[in-house]
């Protein structure tokens, strides 16, 4: 369908065209522009992390260490882990979608602390600079987990530079979490009670609690490693009575909740997508709220399941195992609620819902394998094997990245005012789903059969599965490359979307696309529950008479 140039023009002033100088972007206080600054940064960062993965998987096609020395390979998986965890997954949904949407979803003009928001982006970039410096100087070979005493004493890599980079990046997380919490508490529009908030806001609130309570412990842990490395005397040094396992306790106290930082926002996105594309209110809204808070809390109590074989006491192992079983419950509640939402909904199959379906399927597999790992006996067998690698990638890529892409597609018309090409997007989602499973499902089998993680030399009987795994990568590559191009193109030349292309309720869909700088001409007064779809004809009438949201 051709359109005249005039039809592709979006009239009026919005946050994109208000001022177009570079300075107006780099010194902006507008949460929406800051979200885009993050989007651009983390897209580049994702490419770097993916490059490391490509190099690793190419090496792993051959069992005898074809292209890289062991040290170089160690540096590659460390780089991949550090970049993807701290500089991509943790900031992705919160700092891109969260920054953009939270003020709009609660009916505010901006975050509580707009300047702190901008500072958090600069801090993020500054931390990235240190990490990049560490990589350019030669990299780190300790693994993203920095276990002592290797990281604190014996490694020859640029550990301190990398630790400083992650430390600084942690402040970006803390500032973001702080800003979100204060904003959600203090800047909700009149009538926007806690239980009228969209689930995306609830999950980002839960995530922010983890940001502020967990990240400082990472900060001190990395500080202690750097001090030990820099001054030669150590808190984790057994020669003076120190315990390397203390590092693991402190590290995982942060890093386990960190994985919930990565998945909770993704769950929030999925809740929004499921409701929007079933055209039904989300089933069990209250349960999902409590489940989100429950995941945030329980996630702090399970970190020892990363240390079952490291030397902690067996009794601690048993307690952590039990608690890890508990933490699966709220996640399962969510999956059931999503499925119940889909039931008898008017489902259509645009790209965002395809990503949501991917999420549900792959997150369920990842979560179930997590339960397997929570049992002590199974974990003893498969720990430090590819089973773990597969488990965490099912959650982080199959879960978080799918949800991130689904959210990007769903809110793309709001962010840019334009639509993306639907057919291409659906194909990309399919490529990603197939490529992902091809790449990572064999790794469950490899791990169970005993192939250790972080090894680039392995027994020949594992080669076939490794090759199958690597063949998933080109498909994944196509799946990532397509959105990179068509979203980039559509941002400038796509069909004009209008305020509400999905016909969804929710405050963000009541304002123009792209939104004006201050979001609302007048602060809305909220009078009804979220996900206010008309009920299907064969159900009874809702208790609350649906009144209009007054946005004027």
């Amino acid at each position: 369908m051709t359109q005249t140039p005039e039809a592709r023009f979006i009239p009026g002033e919005n946050y994109l065209n208000k001022e177009k100088t570079l300075a107006s972007w780099l010194f902006t206080h507008d949460h929406k522009r800051i979200a885009l600054l993050y989007l651009i940064s983390i897209t580049f960062i994702f490419l770097i992390g993916s490059l490391a993965a490509v190099l690793m998987r190419t090496e792993l096609m051959f069992p005898h260490g074809e292209f890289f020395t062991s040290t170089t390979y160690n540096k590659l998986f460390t780089l991949h882990g550090v970049i993807m965890v701290w500089f991509f997954l943790i900031p992705a949904i919160p700092n891109v979608l969260g920054n953009f949407l939270i003020p709009i979803m609660i009916g505010a003009r901006d975050m509580a602390f707009p300047r702190l928001n901008l500072i958090s982006w600069y801090v993020f970039m500054f931390g990235g600079l240190f990490a990049l410096t560490s990589i350019i100087l030669g990299g780190v070979d300790t693994g993203w987990t920095f276990y002592t005493p290797y990281s604190s004493t014996y490694s020859n890599g640029w550990v301190i530079a990398m630790a400083v980079g992650i430390f600084i990046n942690g402040f970006s997380s803390i500032f973001t979490g702080l800003n979100f919490i204060v904003t959600i508490h203090k800047l909700r529009a009149p009538g926007m009670t806690w239980f009228r908030l969209p689930l995306f806001v609830w999950t980002l609130y839960s995530t922010s609690l983890i940001f502020v309570l967990a990240t400082p412990v990472l900060a001190i842990t990395l500080t202690l490693v750097a001090l030990e490395r820099g001054f030669g005397i150590g808190i984790f040094d057994p020669r003076i009575g120190g315990d390397p396992l203390l590092f693991q306790h402190l590290f995982w106290f942060y890093s386990h909740p960190a994985v919930y930082i990565m998945i909770l926002p993704a769950m929030g996105v999925v809740s929004e997508l499921i409701a929007a594309f079933s055209r039904k209110p989300i089933f069990g809204y209250n349960f999902i709220v409590y489940a989100s808070l429950g995941i945030a809390f329980l996630g702090f109590l399970v970190w020892g399941h990363h240390m079952f074989v490291s030397g902690q006491s067996i009794y601690a192992g048993m307690i952590f195992s039990l608690l890890s079983f508990f933490v699966a419950i709220p996640s399962a509640i969510k999956v059931f609620n999503w499925t119940a939402t889909l039931y008898k909904g008017h489902i259509t199959f645009e790209a965002p819902i395809l990503y949501a379906f991917s999420f549900i399927a792959l997150f369920t597999i990842g979560g179930m394998t997590g339960l397997m790992l929570a049992s002590l006996a199974v974990d003893v067998h498969v720990t430090q094997t590819y089973f773990i690698v597969a488990h965490c990638h099912y959650i982080m890529v199959g879960g978080a990245v799918m949800a991130y892409l689904g959210g990007i597609h769903y809110w793309f018309p709001k962010i840019t005012g334009r639509m993306y090409p639907e057919m291409l997007a659906r194909w990309a989602a399919v490529f990603l789903f197939v490529g992902f499973n091809l790449a990572f499902f064999p790794q469950f089998i490899l791990g169970y059969m005993g192939m250790p993680r972080r090894y680039h030399v392995y027994p020949e009987e594992f080669q076939l599965l490794n090759i199958i795994s690597t063949t998933g990568l080109p498909l994944l590559g196509i799946g990532y490359f397509l959105p990179l191009t068509y979203l980039g193109w559509s941002a400038f030349f796509g069909r004009v979307a209008g305020p509400n292309p999905w016909d969804a309720p929710g405050l963000e869909w009541q304002i123009p696309s792209p939104p004006p700088s201050e979001n609302f001409a007048c602060i809305p007064i909220v009078t009804r529950k979220p996900y206010g779809y008309d009920p299907p004809p064969d159900t009874h009438e809702p208790d609350e008479a649906p009144e209009e949201i007054h946005v004027h």
């Binding site: 206080h29 505010a108 003009r109 901006d110 975050m111 509580a112 602390f113 707009p114 300047r115 702190l116 803390i174 979490g177 702080l178 800003n179 919490i181 204060v182 508490h185 203090k186 800047l187 502020v212 309570l213 967990a214 990240t215 400082p216 412990v217 900060a219 001190i220 842990t221 500080t223 202690l224 001090l227 001054f231 030669g232 005397i233 150590g234 808190i235 020669r239 003076i240 009575g241 120190g242 315990d243 203390l246 306790h249 402190l250």
Partner: protein
């Protein structure tokens, strides 16, 4: 000019439209930051707990070498500075610049005195070969575990000192700002936030004092 910040519009930052709302949000934000600081120091307290438990006698012996009277004096100094800072904040909220500056000055001097006494203690440790590293020399039942006591001592008090130093810089900055600009007190929020920070650093020391200065063989 009204000096009651609750009533005045003051200088409002976007997106706030009311001074009370902005103040509540600023304080809430600072309390969240202080929670992060509790956990930051908390990692080191965890290390202390673990190693004290594992090396009880070695820590007792190491603790006997501490100058507890200096630690006690320093604690009194810091408590007093917490008092003067709390008053300073009250005067800031009332817009009374002269009292604020006077109390800021006293707080600053007390804080500097604290750092001075601490510096003297560090110097004494250095001359007694109690600084961890190659020059460390200790006679006791388990010298290397006693060294761990001093590793924790220098790390925890060192990071605390860094926080004190930042606090002193901030007092200079905000004191200087209100000296130069009579309108600074139209927005008393930064002063309250600084007051919270200072009191928090005080609280951290209240836990460092018994853990490092009240440890000795029975």
């Amino acid at each position: 000019m009204s000096t009651d910040p609750e009533a005045s519009t003051g200088l409002l930052n976007f997106p706030f439209k009311e001074a009370r709302h902005q103040r509540e949000s600023a304080l809430f934000g600072m309390w969240i930051f202080l929670a992060t600081e509790v956990l930051f120091f908390g990692g080191m307290f965890t290390a202390y707990m673990v190693y004290r438990y594992s090396h009880w006698q070695a820590f007792d012996e190491a603790g006997a070498h501490q100058e507890s009277y200096l630690g006690c004096l320093n604690t009194a100094v810091l408590l007093t500075s917490g008092f003067t800072m709390a008053l300073a904040v009250e005067f800031a909220r009332k817009g009374q610049r002269e009292w604020l500056l006077a109390l800021f000055a006293i707080t600053w001097l007390l804080g500097a005195a604290f750092l001075g006494i601490e510096g003297y203690e560090y110097h004494t440790k250095f001359t007694e070969h109690l600084v961890p590293g190659s020059s460390f020399h200790f006679t006791g039942s388990d010298p290397s575990s006693s060294e761990l006591f001093f590793v924790l001592y220098f790390t925890m008090t060192g990071i605390h000192m860094f926080h004190m130093f930042v606090g002193l810089m901030l007092i200079l900055f905000f004191g200087g700002w209100s000296w130069c600009s009579p309108r600074a007190l139209l927005t008393p929020n930064p002063f309250e936030v600084l007051g919270l920070y200072w009191a928090f650093v005080d609280i951290v020391w209240l836990f460092l004092y018994p853990l490092f200065y009240l440890v000795h063989p029975q």
